[in-house]
Amino acid sequence: MTNEDLIQGCIKQEHEAQKELYKLFYTELMGFCMRMSCDYDEAVSLFQDGFIRIYKDIRTEKINTSLAKWTKLKMVNNTVELLRKNIQQHVISSTGRGTEQSNTELSDFTFVEQLSEEQLLKALQKLPVMYRILVNLTYIDTLPAQEIAKLVDMSEGTLFSNTSKAEFSLKNIIAQYYFKPQNEPTAS
C-alpha cells in the first residue's frame, strides 16, 4: 500500500488503512512519546491521543509534505499541547527532584558514552516536564529554535536560557545517578 493509498483509506475511515498507518509509524512516534513522558503509561496515553488527532486531521487537512513528516509534526504538536496543559501538576511533582540536584562538578563526562539507552532515557524522564520538552525538541529532534519557541509559547531568548538550564539539570541528574568515582556506570 502506497502512502497515497494509506491517506485515501484513512480519509474513508477504512480500518485496514488505519492499522497500516498505525503500524508504519509506531516505532518512531512511540519512541518520541517515551522520550517526552515521565513513564511508559504516560507515553502510551500520549501516543494514542496523538494518533486520534492524526486520524481526525488526515480527513480535513491537505498534506503538503511527506506523510512521515506530517505525522511527526502532528504528534509533536499534540504531545507538547497535552504536556503543557498538565504542566502545573508536573512542576509540583518534579520541583522537589529539581532542587536536590547534586553540585558535582565533573570535567570529564566521557562515561556518558557508556550509558545504555535505557539509562539515558531514565535520566531524561527525571527532568521537569518543560525541561524535558526543550531537551527533546532541541537536541534530539533538532527542530529549529523558532518552531520550538512557537510550540512552547516562549520568546527565543527565554527558550535559549531555559534550554541551557535544562541541559544543566540533565547533567546534574546524570552525574547524581550514574557517576561513580571509578567511572563505573551503575544499573538503574
Binding site: Q13, Y26, T27, M34, I52, T110, V112, L115, E117, E167
Partner: protein
Amino acid sequence: MSQQHPSLIIRTALKSKLEKLNVSFNEEHWVQMENIIIAQPKSVVIKTPLLLLQVFYSILTITTIACIIFCPQTIAPKAKPVKYNGDLLVPSKIKKTNFNKAATNYKAAAIVDSLAVNSPIKPE
C-alpha cells in the same frame, strides 16, 4: 588527547542513543486504538452543518438574484410622480420645494394684507 566539553558529550549521546528508540509494535495498543475509533462518531457529524450552511447560502443567493431580476421595485423603489395643481406631473421632491415656496409667499401676502388693513392710510 583533548577533552570534549561535557555538554557536547551529552548532546551527542542523547542524539545517537535516543533518536531512534528500539520500540517494537504492541498489538494491545492497536486493540485499544481500534476500540477508541469504533466508539467515536463518524465524520458525518462534522460534514452535516457544513452541508446545511452551503444549502442555506445557495438559497439566499438564488432568492437575491430572482428579486433583482423580477421585482426591482422591492430592492430600490423609484420616486413616484405626483399630481400638482390638478394638471402638472412633477416628482415629489420638486413638489415639496414648490409647496414650501408657495406657503412662504402666501404668508408674506397675508402679512402685507393685514398691514394694509390696519394702516391709518386707507387705500382708495
